[in-house]
């Protein structure tokens, strides 16, 4: 059996580990346009902050490819996929045949057309290690940095470079920061915290036009900058599968085995449409855990196994200057709210199940809430009032604890 994996990040690593649990012999070829050993993309902001380094940000040990019998083809892009010949063609013309193919091509920064953007020479995205190193090279202590996009990527970038530049301004078209994961009150709390650290915001505005060192905002204000970071959003890389005739939407469509509509072609990670179990809808879940778990499932299926249900949902653990935020699921249904000056909690529930939550500040034991969503635990069977106040196993009752903590199986 010959497996080919396009991509070298979390979904690819998950697939290799899933494959090798079943098939110890088959040949695995990993093709990546990047030349780096597999690394954790979300760590690039920690790298610039000095909280990790190139060695420690490796997602797996140096011996990973050798240990798993993988051949690596790095620094090459895959140009096309021939589903009839069952080959992929690289940018140097090489053709690689496959029996089973995984497309783990991830996503790319999306830069909307903005007037005059091409005049800005010091302009960066913030997605890959190469992006981070290019940005790092441009930093200087008095630099005025403008970040377009107050989402997860833009704000982690802000935290990463804060102490290495002079002035940091973040703009976003949305009226609040982190609009994909926080409600208004939560966003205000985090914004205030970031402002205290010296990050400036202009929200509800966009850049009308750029010149080399200036952005003219829709509000009429002109911002001068030395360095521009665009972090507006990402787009799934779907063209390989789409051009080969596979079904795509915003992302590549896959079944519960992570197989695309093309025979023997699988896909996982940021490039696929996942089923969000917290609300039952299909959406792109561009988060690392989902990539690993989806990749592992794909690997299992490619090797002929039956993958476990993935129970995917949005979930994010993120912190800024010591303030921690954990969110998961969907924000729909009734709301339980608890807040004080430093902490914020919102739980969303409907139909006897927890659907989502937002925790800021005190995030201890947040996984108990995540588990309630993932397992669709009936809230009528637990002490929900107590678990609202504080996530704990007390709320679950004796037989649950005897099983989970006492190792006793409960047959009935």
């Amino acid at each position: 059996m010959k497996y080919v994996i396009i991509g070298n990040s979390a979904a690819a690593v998950g697939a290799i580990e899933g494959l090798r649990e079943i098939d110890k012999e088959g040949a695995i070829t990993v093709v990546s346009s990047e030349t780096h050993h597999t690394y954790s993309r979300p760590l690039i902001s920690y790298l610039l902050q000095g909280r990790t380094d190139r060695e420690r940000m490796k997602y797996r040990a140096d011996s990973f490819y050798a240990d798993n019998g993988c051949e690596t083809v790095f620094g090459k892009s895959v140009l096309s996929l021939d589903k009839d010949k069952k080959t992929v063609v690289l940018d140097d013309g090489t053709e690689i045949p496959y029996d089973k193919l995984l497309v783990a091509t991830g996503s790319s920064p999306f830069v909307p057309p903005m007037d005059g953007l091409e005049k800005v020479s010091k302009r960066f995205s913030f997605m890959s290690l190469d992006d981070a190193e290019a940005l790092e090279e441009a930093l200087f202590p008095k630099a005025r940095v403008l970040i377009v996009g107050a989402g997860l990527i833009g704000l982690k970038c802000a935290e990463g470079i804060k102490d290495r530049v002079g002035k940091l301004t973040v703009i976003d078209l949305a009226p609040r920061i982190l609009s994909s994961i926080l409600d208004e009150d939560g966003a205000n709390m985090v914004q205030t915290h970031l402002e205290k650290q010296g990050v400036d915001f202009r929200l509800g505005v966009s850049a009308k036009s750029f010149s080399e060192n200036k952005a003219e905002l829709t509000s009429g204000e002109t911002l001068e900058f030395d360095i521009l970071v665009t972090a507006v959003g990402v787009r799934p890389n779907i063209s390989l599968v789409k051009d080969a005739g596979g079904e795509t939407d915003r992302g590549i469509l896959v079944d519960e085995n992570m197989q695309t509509t093309l025979a023997d072609v699988y896909a996982a990670g940021d490039c696929v449409v996942s089923c969000d179990i917290s609300c039952g809808t299909k959406r792109i879940l561009a988060i690392l855990p989902n990539a690993y778990v989806g990749g592992f499932a794909a690997g299992t299926a490619m090797a002929g196994g039956i993958p476990k249900p993935q129970k995917a949902m949005p979930m994010n653990a993120i912190g800024f200057f010591g303030l921690h935020i954990i969110t998961a699921g969907s924000y729909e249904g009734e709301v339980y709210e608890q807040k004080d000056a430093e902490n914020y909690k919102k739980l969303f529930y409907s139909g006897d199940a927890l659907k989502g939550f937002i925790l800021i500040g005190d995030v201890d034991k947040a996984g108990i809430y995540t588990s309630l969503i993932r397992e669709k635990t009936p809230l009528s069977g637990i002490d929900f009032a107590s678990v609202c106040r504080e996530p704990s196993l007390i709320a679950f009752g004796r037989s649950y604890r005897d099983e989970k903590l006492g190792g006793k199986s409960n047959e009935n």
Binding site: G14, S40, P42, L43, Y46, R51, T52, R56, M57, K58, Y59, R60, L288, P289, Y292, V293, F296, K308, M315, N316, A317, I318, G319, G322, H324, I326, A328, V363, D364, K365, A366, G367, I368, T370, S371, S386, P391, S392, L393, I394, R398, R401, D402, K404, L405, G406, G407, K408
Partner: protein, 141 residues
């Protein structure tokens, strides 16, 4: 394999397991100097509400979400034991988001810690050795 199990009916709520854990993982030789004047950060924690009490520590799950979800590769499972490489951890809290039992917590330095069954402390978990009522045991079940 042997794991830490809780016999809830025997738990006195004395919290000795927490102190023994904190001491065992302090790297110090003397319990008083290890625990004096600090807020202990044990890897086993007692939950209590006046009516029931029991200790909770890592279950070393068969499907360990902390490991599959870890963004750095710091959390790994080998020979049935989940351990954390604190030098790789950046303290992103994805494991806190993921653990169904609330068993991963931050160190004072802001990276994560968890129960490693005292594999680095000479074997039998110290929470078990110090439990006065056999409410925590280390055995096969």
């Amino acid at each position: 394999m042997k794991r830490v199990y809780v016999n809830e009916q025997w738990c006195l709520g004395c919290h000795l397991c927490e102190y023994n854990c904190a001491f065992a993982n302090s790297g110090k030789r003397d319990m008083a100097s290890a625990l004096m004047n600090i807020k202990i950060r044990p890897n086993i924690r007692v939950e209590e509400d006046g009516k029931v009490c029991f200790a909770v520590s890592c279950r070393h799950c068969d499907e360990p979400f902390c490991v599959t979800n870890c963004i750095t590769g710091a959390l790994t499972k080998k020979d049935g034991v989940i351990t954390i490489d604190k030098t790789k951890c950046v303290g992103c809290y994805t494991c806190v988001l993921s653990c169904p039992y609330g068993c991963v917590t931050p160190t004072e330095q802001g990276v994560m810690q968890k129960c490693e069954l005292c594999t680095a402390n000479g074997g039998t978990p110290k929470c078990v050795l110090g439990c006065p009522n056999k409410a925590i045991v280390f055995e096969e079940r």
